[in-house]
């Protein structure tokens, strides 16, 4: 009888998969930026914003996942709400990397699209979980 358990299992799985995928995404994107700076003309004032966005997203990811796990497991809506806010921020950064980087390679498009889809799904599940916790 799991009617008393409000924690969402799909959300937990998705957060876990997201964490693993994000490590791969970060390393791949960093490697591609290095590749682009060697092969194409990539002056410093265009390279700096792209790298800044990538590192900012990596820094945001850690508290985002931690708060997500904690909120889901303790069935508390505040950490889950904060995690949702950070997810929205990460989504915006992901859209930047998808559309407004100096050079958008086809591989960039694939990676960012998958990450964006994962974030979107995660946001949906978090909203459902918060609704379940509050009521």
């Amino acid at each position: 009888n799991n009617s008393s358990q409000l924690s969402s299992l799909p959300l937990h799985i998705l957060l876990y998969v997201n964490g693993v995928y994000y490590i791969f995404y970060f390393l791949a994107t960093l490697a591609m930026i290095i590749y682009k700076s060697q092969v194409f003309s990539y002056p410093d004032d265009f390279l700096a914003p792209d790298l800044a966005v990538l590192f900012l997203m990596a820094i945001l990811e850690v508290p985002r996942l931690y708060l997500g796990f904690k909120g889901n497991l303790t069935e508390a809506e505040v950490p889950l709400g904060l995690s949702l806010g950070l997810t929205v921020g990460s989504m915006l950064l992901c859209v930047y990397l998808l559309l407004w980087q100096s050079y958008v390679l086809w591989a960039d498009v694939l990676l960012n699209a998958v990450l964006l889809a994962a974030y979107g799904l995660e946001s949906g599940l978090k909203v459902t979980a918060i609704a379940a916790f509050v009521s």
Binding site: F40, S41, L99, S102, Y103, V104
Partner: protein, 537 residues
């Protein structure tokens, strides 16, 4: 081969690709085998064999781009050109999907000067020189890193000679004839430079480059100690050009204003640096020529020279080793009076006892030439001349003698060295100069007392290639100096005439064609065995 176009905005790319035709070189005419040429008609296409440019595409790194493909359909009769505009797809996963940086795939274009950036561009590029590393030779002593002791102990060829502040300066003209003080003297690089400096008598004592101190102030850094530059000699040049050597060169003479002249201004510096055979500088001396600047003079010409000598040696400049090197002076000398005993030749490196020819001056007046001579350089044919104005009052004999001096110089040598490194004691290595005299007789005036004046001197130097085929050396074989004289007609009084006087040097190569030779002719070795005629012998 494919031809690439920088990636323009995607909208206009297809239009750009369809219109671009690199092989269309002739205007309003059809270029052969150029399938994209709009001037070609269908009949022209039927005569082509291939398309020199088969594909015109944008940057091939893009994921999808327009390409214009030209081909010839040879099966059709007559052959016709096929033009297709297709979308070429780059299958790589790292193809560029989009760029947000306009100059991404373009070459960088230089900045167009506008009112805002003009000053900055002028600072960077407006000087006589600009380089990627302008800071290496800055005279700012704070910025300069003093080099460590073991680095200055040994100099190598070409390395600038370092002094306490920056380096040893040899002012020289850069681009224009004005003196630039930023030219360093390189170790073992013998240089002689002349440049013009702008001066004014009022600021005579404040212009640093006119004072002796500027040139001997800082001492040269060499191994552990510093070498001071001593004053070797001072020559004072007066306003009319006469030079006097001062007996005491201890006193430092600084420029000062005297009677509307600026005296003791440096007109020339001659550095002599002595070094050891390991590259350490042990001595430095400077010989000065000081002169006076008059009030009207706005600029003076300064000349600078630096020469390096190894200690305990007496250098003799050779013109080749052994064959003459093109551009080096032809060495000449005299046989001293003790002939016929095969004594050594006298030759010196003094410019005036070399083989020289008349040096044309700007005034072109033979009598005012002041003895300007130019050394004869091997391999360079030279011609020079001047104009002689003859008046009725001139006497023939002194005039002829003067012209002979003008053409031949003060001491015309008798022998020329056969090789560039001929030694004075090898008598056979020296070629005598044959002197010929040709006179143009004017037939109608043979009855009058003919006065012959020399009008041209032609030196012909015949040389040959000597030695191995692979590395032939130039060797002078024969030198002939021909003086051509003409009769001087007596002029009616009051009239004057101008005659051109010329002198020339011609080098003729008389090498006979080379014969490759064998070390020894091959011999046929036929010997019958000793018992060939056995039964009979």
């Amino acid at each position: 081969e494919a031809c690439s176009v920088p990636a323009a905005a995607l909208v206009s790319l297809s239009a750009a690709v369809a219109k671009l035709c690199v092989c269309d070189l002739l205007v309003a005419q059809c270029d052969t085998n150029c399938c994209c040429d709009p001037d070609c008609s269908a009949e022209d296409f039927s005569l082509f064999t291939t398309c020199s440019i088969p594909v015109v595409i944008g940057d091939s790194q893009l994921c999808s781009q327009k390409a214009a493909v030209y081909s010839l359909d040879v099966e059709a009769n007559p052959p016709e050109r096929i033009f297709k505009l297709i979308d070429q797809v780059n299958p790589s996963i790292f193809c560029i999907h989009a760029t947000n940086y306009e100059q991404a795939l373009y070459l960088k274009s230089p900045e167009i000067p506008t009112a805002e950036n003009f000053d900055e561009l002028l600072d960077k590029f407006g000087g006589a020189t600009f380089s990627a590393e302008p800071d290496s030779w800055n005279l700012d002593t704070d910025a300069q890193n003093p080099p460590e002791a073991n680095e200055t102990s040994r100099y190598e060829y070409g390395v600038p000679v370092q002094t306490e502040d920056a380096f040893l300066r040899l002012p020289s003209p850069v681009v224009s004839s004005w003196c630039s003080d930023a030219n360093p003297a390189g170790f073992l690089v013998n240089q002689a430079t002349k440049c013009i400096r702008s001066v004014s008598v009022e600021k005579c004592d404040s212009i640093q480059a006119l004072s002796m101190l500027f040139y001997i102030n800082s001492s040269i850094l060499a191994s552990v100690f510093q070498v001071n530059i001593t004053v070797q000699s001072i020559v004072v040049q007066s306003v009319n050009g006469m030079r006097t050597l001062l007996s005491s060169s201890e006193v430092l003479r600084l420029p000062m204003v005297l009677d509307e002249l600026c005296i003791n201004a440096v007109l020339g510096v001659n550095y002599h640096i002595t070094h050891t055979d390991t590259g350490e500088i042990i001595e430095a001396a400077a010989a000065f020529v000081l002169g006076a600047i008059s009030r009207e003079a706005l600029s003076i010409e300064q000349s600078f020279e630096i020469s390096f000598t190894q200690e305990n040696t007496q250098p003799v400049p050779l013109s080749g080793n052994p064959g003459y090197v093109v551009g080096l002076p032809v060495r000449a000398g005299f046989q001293p009076q003790g002939y016929p005993s095969p004594a050594a030749f006298l030759f010196s490196s003094n410019k005036h006892s070399q083989l020289t020819i008349l040096h044309s001056t700007s005034t072109q007046d033979c009598l005012a030439a002041q003895g300007a001579r130019a050394p004869v350089l091997f391999g360079y044919n030279m011609i020079s001349g001047c104009k002689l104005r003859i008046t009725a009052a001139m006497k023939c004999q002194p005039l002829a003698q003067t012209l002979l001096d003008v053409l031949k110089g003060q001491s015309f040598p008798e022998y020329v060295a056969s090789f560039g490194n001929s030694q004075a004691q090898d008598v056979l290595d020296w070629v005598p100069i044959t002197q010929l005299h040709i006179s143009e007789q004017m037939i109608s005036h043979t009855l009058q007392s003919s006065c012959q004046i020399p009008v041209s001197l032609g030196i012909e130097v015949k040389w040959t290639k000597y030695g191995s085929l692979v590395n032939p050396q130039a060797r002078i074989v024969n030198v002939t100096a021909t003086i051509t004289s003409t009769t001087l007609k007596q002029l009616p009084s009051g009239r004057e005439r101008i005659i051109p006087i010329t002198s020339s040097v011609v080098f003729t190569d008389i090498s006979s064609p080379a014969e490759p030779s064998y070390k020894a002719w091959p011999t046929i070795n036929i010997k019958l065995p000793f018992d060939f005629f056995y039964p009979f012998v």
